[in-house]
């Protein structure tokens, strides 16, 4: 029985649209007539978002030598698109904050997602990519399809997890076998629903099968490898017990030397705890 991942999204009121503030920020960033002050003003209207963004840009993720006190300055220094991308990541996390924890430990889920995002950002930094925040966001959103599956198909999700526990199979392969699609496809469909950039959508959809990426092969490869590293580091838990197979072409594509892996893990260790504290909305006890 093949079901379309888009079916999962119908009637999902909670996630039918991104928070208004994000849409306004995004529109302003894309509008060539907007000034940095305009963008700063819009962000500042949401005080909790502003506070979170300021904490993030002042953290070990950026290592700026002096403190950034205002949003406008943050936009100037970090960049409009980059700050927009960080705002996106934090907005999405906030949306899912109220999710039930029956099947999935949300703390562990975001630990893995943020871990993947941080790792991807570090790899992108090494490659001197112009906007590394884009990789942070893609990493953070790569498994978001799992949250939807758990919400809308709880029984089947449970069955899939149980099956993996006894058979030792990879969860994303069991998803395809049992549902006809995997969490990557669901995630991609959700990002499309939110009208997010095609690059984000393709990266999320193809993160387990990077060879399928047509336009954004490099970005997809980075997230794919970051995900493998995050699993090897056992950062949190998104449901997958095992390290997913590494696509050799994706590895070649990102062009990272073998010796850099150890360094990457060290940097992730240094950044992840602060990142989690700042990016996650107040965790429930």
């Amino acid at each position: 029985m093949i079901r379309n991942p888009r079916d999962l999204l119908n009637g999902t009121v909670e996630v039918s649209a991104l928070p208004m503030i994000f849409t306004r920020i995004n529109d302003a960033v894309n509008d060539p007539r907007s000034s940095i002050a305009d963008i700063g003003r819009i962000i500042s209207e949401d005080s909790s978002l502003s506070a979170r963004l300021l904490r993030i840009v002042n953290s070990v993720l950026y290592s700026f030598p002096s403190k950034i006190e205002t949003i406008t300055r943050a936009v100037t220094i970090v960049g409009t698109q980059q700050l927009r991308d960080v705002a996106l990541a934090t907005s999405v996390m906030k949306m899912f904050a109220e999710m039930s924890e029956d099947l999935l430990n949300m703390e562990a889920f975001w630990h893995h997602s943020i871990g993947c995002g941080i790792t991807a950002r570090i790899l992108a930094s090494y490659r001197r990519e112009p906007n590394v925040e884009r990789f942070l966001v893609a990493g953070m959103l790569h498994d978001i399809g799992r949250l939807l599956i758990h919400t809308k198909m709880a029984d089947q999700a449970r069955a899939a997890l149980l099956r993996c526990e006894s058979s030792g199979e990879l969860l994303y392969k069991v998803e395809v076998d049992e549902f006809g699609f995997d969490h990557a496809a669901v995630g991609g469909a959700l990002l499309q629903l939110w009208k997010l950039p095609a690059s984000l959508e393709e990266v999320v959809t193809c993160h387990h099968n990077p060879r399928r990426a047509q336009r954004y092969a490099v970005e997809t490869a980075v997230i794919h490898v970051a995900d493998v590293i995050a699993h090897a580091m056992r950062l949190g838990n998104s449901g997958e017990r095992f390290v997913p197979p590494l696509d050799s072409r994706a590895w070649e594509r990102i062009g990272i030397p073998l010796s850099y892996l150890s360094e990457t893990m060290d940097q992730v260790d240094r950044q992840i705890n602060d990142a989690i504290k700042m990016i996650r909305p107040d965790a429930r006890k």
């Binding site: 699993h231 090897a232 056992r234 997913p244 590494l246």
Partner: protein
């Protein structure tokens, strides 16, 4: 001449190569003797390693693996094998991730033991 992790760099060591922050700006040139103040600055800028004169990579033995109990390493390897069962350990990058994973698992166990 070898790259050392910043944690192992001591004041008095001489730089063999310039230290740059992630964006590419040079913080300190080669040939300069490192002071505690320099180390503070490096940390602030997120620098994680430096090229030091007179040190070769072989000299900087990772302290971590020396201090680990072989029994723990053994346990860690078994755990890692399970974790990596769906991967191709023949691939060099996977192999390296596997190796690092064992070290981290053993370190975790070692840390837990000390508590």
């Amino acid at each position: 001449m070898g790259k050392m992790s910043l944690e192992d760099v001591q004041p008095g060591m001489i730089l063999a190569g310039e230290v740059k922050e992630r964006g590419g700006c040079v913080l300190l040139s080669a040939g300069v003797e490192i002071t505690e103040k320099h180390l503070d600055i490096f940390r602030k800028w997120g620098v994680s390693e430096a090229d030091i004169q007179g040190v070769s990579k072989q000299d900087v033995i990772p302290l971590a693996s020396l201090q680990l109990d072989p029994a723990l390493l053994q346990q860690a390897e078994v755990q890692a094998q399970e974790l990596f069962r769906h991967t191709d350990l023949q691939h060099l990058a996977v192999r390296e991730l596997f190796r690092l994973s064992i070290l981290r698992l053993a370190q975790d166990k070692s840390g837990a033991q000390d508590l």
